[in-house]
């Protein structure tokens, strides 16, 4: 059963959300590095493959 509490402390939740990011900034950087590498590979590979296939 879901609880229907009267007071949802949104300000506290916002504050906690920013603190969560600050606390795990290392993981954020880790994710960004990995996904940037994926993005860079895609940005280079996709046009190359397309040009090759269009020419071929």
């Amino acid at each position: 059963m879901r609880s229907d509490k009267l007071k949802f402390d949104a300000l506290n939740a916002v504050w906690a959300a920013y603190r969560a990011l600050a606390a795990r900034l290392d993981r954020f950087v880790y994710f960004v590095v990995i996904w940037s590498a994926v993005g860079a590979v895609v940005a280079v590979v996709v046009p190359e493959v397309l040009e090759w296939s269009l020419e071929g």
């Binding site: 609880s3 949802f8 993981r27 960004v32 996904w35 940005a43 996709v46 046009p47």
Partner: protein, 210 residues
């Protein structure tokens, strides 16, 4: 512009959306379930698919609203080739949709942790009377990052070139944008913990914030 370059740009955009979704899911699961933040790609593809579907629903509506607004503005010469003006219209469109659906936002946290009961409709019912808290809370999480992104886009507005500075600023704007989506995901996760605290579950919220 050659077709290959255009499709390359599209592929890059798809990677950006995928990155944003995967990181948000990891963030939700860390806060709600206490799962370590080491999964670049979610383990469960059903969760990824369900989350992506919800994001699409949530993104397509503001995109449609924004496109309609931009077309209207172009036809009435309110903005012409104005990047920041267009960005602002897209942001206003998104904000209007968030305002309209604020009480359903909890469905994103739910789907990230595999809670299939909490659909958009169920989330809407559960959060009755909390509209402004959700809307203003979401805005407080999103606005600083969006403003920074708009400012960065304003800096790089102008004729496209291949300079390093321009690429660096574009990259920085993207990172700031993703950062904002993670703060929003965290806010919704804390809201989810609040609104479902009475339910029996195996979750173990991240120790730091419990």
């Amino acid at each position: 512009m050659p077709l290959s370059t255009l499709l390359g740009g599209l592929a890059e955009f798809v990677v950006l959306v995928a990155a944003s979704i995967c990181m948000s899911i990891a963030w939700h699961r860390w806060i709600i379930l206490g799962e370590p933040l080491n999964r670049v790609f979610p383990e469960r593809t059903d969760i990824l698919a369900a989350y992506t579907w919800r994001v699409l629903v949530f993104v397509l509506v503001p995109v449609a609203v924004s496109v309609a607004a931009i077309v209207w503005m172009m036809r009435n010469r309110v903005v012409e080739e104005d990047v920041s003006g267009t960005d602002a219209v897209v942001y206003i469109g998104t904000t209007l949709v968030v305002a309209a659906l604020a009480r359903s936002l909890l469905a994103f946290s739910a789907v990230a942790v595999g809670d299939k009961e909490l659909t958009f409709r169920a989330a809407w019912r559960l959060t009755a009377g909390h509209w402004w808290r959700f809307f203003l809370g979401y805005l407080a999480c999103d606005l600083p990052f969006t403003m920074t992104t708009l400012w960065l886009n304003e800096l790089i507005a102008g004729p496209a070139d291949e300079s390093f500075a321009r690429s660096a600023l574009e990259y920085l704007a993207t990172v700031v944008d993703v950062m904002g989506s993670l703060v929003c995901a965290a806010f919704l996760s804390f809201a989810y913990l609040h609104f479902t605290s009475g339910r029996p579950s195996a979750r173990e919220p991240a120790g730091y914030f419990s």
